[in-house]
Amino acid sequence: MEFLVASAIGIMTAAGLYLLLRLRTFPVILGISLLTYAVNVFLFTSGRLTVGGAPILRDGVTQYADPLPQALVLTAIVISFGMTAVVVMIALGAFLGSNNDFVDDQPEGQDDQMEGRS
């Protein structure tokens, strides 16, 4: 199970990083989303992986799952969800306004010649 979870985090992070380095906003936002998925699972595993452990103290239970990372993940999910929504709206506004969705600064007057780049 450790191998499975670790490789899932690794693959998602790698894919997210690759997309993050693209030039247009849409792949970059996808990359950010993938990275936040990866970090959510990563936070979850920071309390060690247990199957079927009780999160709250109870009589007669010996194996516990750490409840704190679950609370942290919940916060992180909500925040990253909201932030992604914000960046989508701003990026949409910027794209509709300037008809150009490149992430980097464009030299002035060259916006029309950028069609071939990707």
Binding site: T25, I32, G47
Partner: protein, 513 residues
């Protein structure tokens, strides 16, 4: 247990929704509540700073849960000084926004402004790393709204870059927190300090990775080269009062580095040896050089100011990375100076924009109100470049003195002195192009007459400049206080015991009912 320490967070948090819900269409009511809120904030902050000035450590357990389990707010000399600095800066920025009419060029300026203050205050006061992350997000999401306030394509495009870069920073922060929790099982800073000291020197791989990741996150916030790329565009395109408020946001990164790397990973802990002197210091020196070269190379006034902010943050980080009491004291003095100097230069660049066609550094016909604006720019530029008699000069002297015993002393002195010269050239060039060469350009009779900036705008700028002058006149007292702060930071035992040993809800055995 005093409740006042939570007031700087609660007050803006209540005021902002009130402004949105009750006063959405009345700019007058919004303005008066916003100003009243910031004035009350200054009162609270001054009270807290007074309470902690004798070395007391204020602890606030939210929900009465004891430290490692619940979230705590901690006020010591450092955090209350930063809170006071933020509140004072907030007042003048708000006055400028009202005077220049910026707050009426889009929706919800005052509500976002209050949320921004809440995030900054919380980040300074919290004693818990995950809570620090949450307050970072609060201040960031408000800053996203403020950054694109009043719209416009260039601003939206710069906003996209700003948001994306900070999202990456937040993700890195979460990775760092995850690895710290996996290694130590706690996220409370005082508790962490105890546990990091206990880690077996042979098994420090995880905590080393976490320490470096955390440093990267704070360096992004502090705009340290090579993580500074988000700053020039976004600060230059943001509305001027917002950019001036952002002058404190880079300091949040510097504060977090000081706090975490004196308390949790102090310089003598083997886990992070080499992090400060091998990595942080050269990066900070490059920041100073790059920022000041940027000042000389900038084609527009707002970019020039943005690069001068990078340079002065580099100066702060050089001094912090010495990690000696003298170094931290000098850095804190310079933080106060550079917050006001950066903010006032952004506001002045907006005064220039009001009177001119644009901010390109090319000769254009004389602007309206040129004499007064030129005088203010002169004072602001002297402060930022670090010429006598203002506090920039004293700050640099303190930096050089603190660096005297460092191994890299030759490098620090060379970079600081040469880059100061370059920045003086840059500011002199900008001032002469903007204000002197304007007289040689024939006025364009067809151009519309531009109105003078409002008097309240000048009051705000003058107020910030007088704070800079006060920081110079009372330099002895201010530096004496920052030395006390540094002494408290390098003796963290009272902080740790106050946080960890204060009993809370579940600390005592339960009484039978």
């Amino acid at each position: 247990m005093t409740h006042w320490i939570v007031a700087p967070v609660i007050l803006p948090a209540l005021l902002a929704p009130f402004i949105v819900l009750a006063a959405r269409f009345h700019i007058g009511i919004q303005r008066s509540f916003s100003v009243a809120g910031v004035l009350a904030l200054i009162g609270c902050a001054a009270g807290l700073a007074w309470q902690t000035s004798d070395g007391t450590i204020l602890l606030y357990q939210l929900g009465d849960w004891a430290a490692p389990f619940g979230i705590v707010l901690v006020g010591d000399r450092l955090s209350t000084m930063m809170v006071l600095l933020t509140a004072v800066l907030g007042l003048f920025v708000l006055l400028y926004a009202i005077g220049s009419g910026w707050d009426n060029r889009g929706w919800h300026f005052h509500a976002l402004f209050q949320f921004q203050l809440m995030g900054i205050m919380g980040a300074f006061l919290t004693g818990d790393l995950f809570n620090l992350f949450v307050f970072f997000e609060v201040l960031l999401i408000a800053s996203y709204g403020l950054m694109i306030h009043a719209g416009g394509n260039a601003r939206l495009r710069a906003g996209v870059q700003y948001v994306l870069f900070n999202l990456i920073g937040s993700t890195l922060f979460l990775f760092a927190l995850g690895s710290i929790y996996a290694e130590t099982g706690t996220l409370n800073m005082a508790d962490l300090a105890n546990r990091v000291a206990l880690i077996d020197p042979a098994e420090t791989v995880g905590i080393r990775v976490a320490a470096v990741l955390l440093l990267l996150v704070f360096a992004i916030k502090a705009a340290l080269v090579p993580l500074h790329f988000w700053l020039p565009s976004s600060y230059a395109e943001a509305p001027a009062p917002v950019a001036a408020l952002f002058a404190i946001m880079t300091k949040v990164g510097a504060y977090a580095i000081i706090r975490v790397y004196t308390l949790v990973f102090p310089p003598d802990v083997e886990v992070t040896s080499g992090l400060h002197d091998v990595w942080l210091q050269p990066a900070a020196l490059i920041s100073v050089a790059l920022g000041m070269i940027g000042v000389l190379a900038a084609q527009r006034l707002d970019r020039l100011v943005a690069f001068s902010v990078i340079g002065s943050m580099g100066m702060v980080m050089v001094t912090i990375s010495l990690f000696t009491p003298a170094g931290i004291a000098a850095a804190l003095y310079y933080i106060v100076h550079s917050t006001f100097a950066g903010a006032v230069l952004f506001l002045i660049s907006d005064l220039v924009r009001t009177g001119r066609r644009d901010l390109e550094l090319t000769p254009q016909p004389t602007m309206s109100g040129a004499a007064l604006t030129a005088g203010l720019f002169f004072v602001g530029a002297i402060a930022m470049a670090g010429l006598p008699p203002l506090s920039g000069f004293l700050g640099k002297l303190l930096v050089l003195e603190a660096a005297f015993s460092s191994d890299l002393m030759v490098w620090i002195w060379t970079v600081v002195l040469v880059s100061s010269l370059i920045s003086i050239l840059g500011f002199a060039r900008a001032g002469s192009v903007l204000f002197w060469k304007a007289h040689s350009v024939a006025p364009d009779n067809g151009a519309p007459v531009r109105e003078r900036p409002a008097p309240l705008a000048y009051v705000a700028v003058g107020g910030l400049l007088s704070l800079l002058i006060a920081n110079t006149v009372f330099a002895g007292q201010v530096h004496g206080y920052t030395s006390k702060i540094a002494a408290q930071l390098f003796a963290p035992e009272p902080y740790i015991t106050t946080v960890v040993d204060t009993p809370g809800k579940l600390s005592e055995p339960k009484e039978d009912k």
